[in-house]
Amino acid sequence: MTGQAASSVPGGAGAPDGGDGGRLSELADDDLIRRLRRIAAEADPVPDSLYAAARAAFALRDIDARIAELVRDSAMDAPLVAVRAVTESDARMLSFEASDTVIECEVTARGGTRDIVGQLTGGTAAWVAAEVAGRPPVRADVQAHGFFAVRGLPSGPLRLKCLLADGVTVATSWTPV
């Protein structure tokens, strides 16, 4: 019964918008819900580009990649309420793990762009590809000790991908930066 009950739910989207202009006290609950739905579509609509981006997300599926899950995000360690200014030096540490492979990176915001300095451990790779959803991936060479750097990425959901020497592709879980 879940998922497809839109038309059977009281106040469902299928019913006509009714009751506008009448007294609020006489507006039935279902009509009020429908009216609020119409107002929301006017005052705070879902951007059309979001539907397009959500559909396009499907093409970014990589069924062969092993997912490195986000295991630590310094943003989640920070106090929620803090009176502070946003400065150039604000950096965020992210750690991703796929079994033995660990990708750690420091994300620095510079206006609308992001710089990433990271390290790959528990595996070797020639390059890391940084991909912001909807943009072509940007490759960076992996240096000694697994270090890599990517600069000037646009902000948005990001994943890092690399092909390990043993033939396994590792992709980090999508994370907005």
Binding site: A13, D44, S49, A54, F58, A82, V86, R92
Partner: protein
């Protein structure tokens, strides 16, 4: 092998759609997107995020589902999985060091669109209702914003998303709407 895409229709169950999408069916994916994007938007907009950050959260939620299509244990609880993922990402976004947050006196809010309700509503009663919705208690706001998603979730999904008893949704909705009427009437001088 799963059915061909012409078998996927707008009223297929979430389980059928997830299975078809996992088998590579873009049409099934699109139906899921149409079914839940408004719901996720309404969840994300309850947090103090700019429209651009809310859109990032919703897009990330879909990307996470793409990543986990083979691992969704109970597709009939998909609405719960999506909303949990979205809320976690909202929390993350609201704590990111590079984003302004309430209390940041010096932060410059990126000018990427109007805040909720700032887009002009010409009808006076509409404006009073919209403003009243933003002043409802948190629990009521959560419920009403879910219910005004387009398409709205089923009550079973609302129960999962908000961790409520199925039988309490109807009475709670009634109580919240009565509060909303009162707030809008006082505010807008309407009756």
């Amino acid at each position: 092998m799963l059915g061909p895409s012409w078998l996927v229709v707008d009223d297929s169950s979430n389980g059928e759609l997830v299975a078809a999408a996992a088998a590579g069916d873009q049409k099934a994916w699109d139906v899921l997107v149409d079914r839940f994007t408004s719901l996720l938007w309404n969840i994300a907009r309850q947090y103090r995020l700019s429209p651009a950050d809310a859109a990032d959260v919703v897009q990330t939620t879909w990307l996470r589902l793409v990543e986990n299509l083979d691992r969704i244990a109970d597709p009939e609880r998909l609405a719960g999985w999506l909303s949990t993922t979205a809320r976690r990402e909202c929390l993350r976004a609201s704590r990111r060091p590079d984003l302004p947050r309430p209390g940041d006196d010096f932060a410059v809010i990126p000018d990427d669109g109007p805040a909720p309700g700032e887009r002009l509503l010409r009808d006076e009663q509409d404006a009073a209702l919209w403003s009243a919705l933003a002043r409802l208690g948190e629990a009521c706001q959560r419920l009403i914003r879910l219910l005004i998603s387009d398409p709205p979730p089923s009550y079973a999904e609302v129960a999962i998303i908000l961790d409520m008893k199925l039988g309490s949704i109807g009475p709670t909705r009634q109580r919240c709407l009565n509060q909303l009427r009162k707030l809008a009437s006082v505010d807008g001088g309407l009756t």
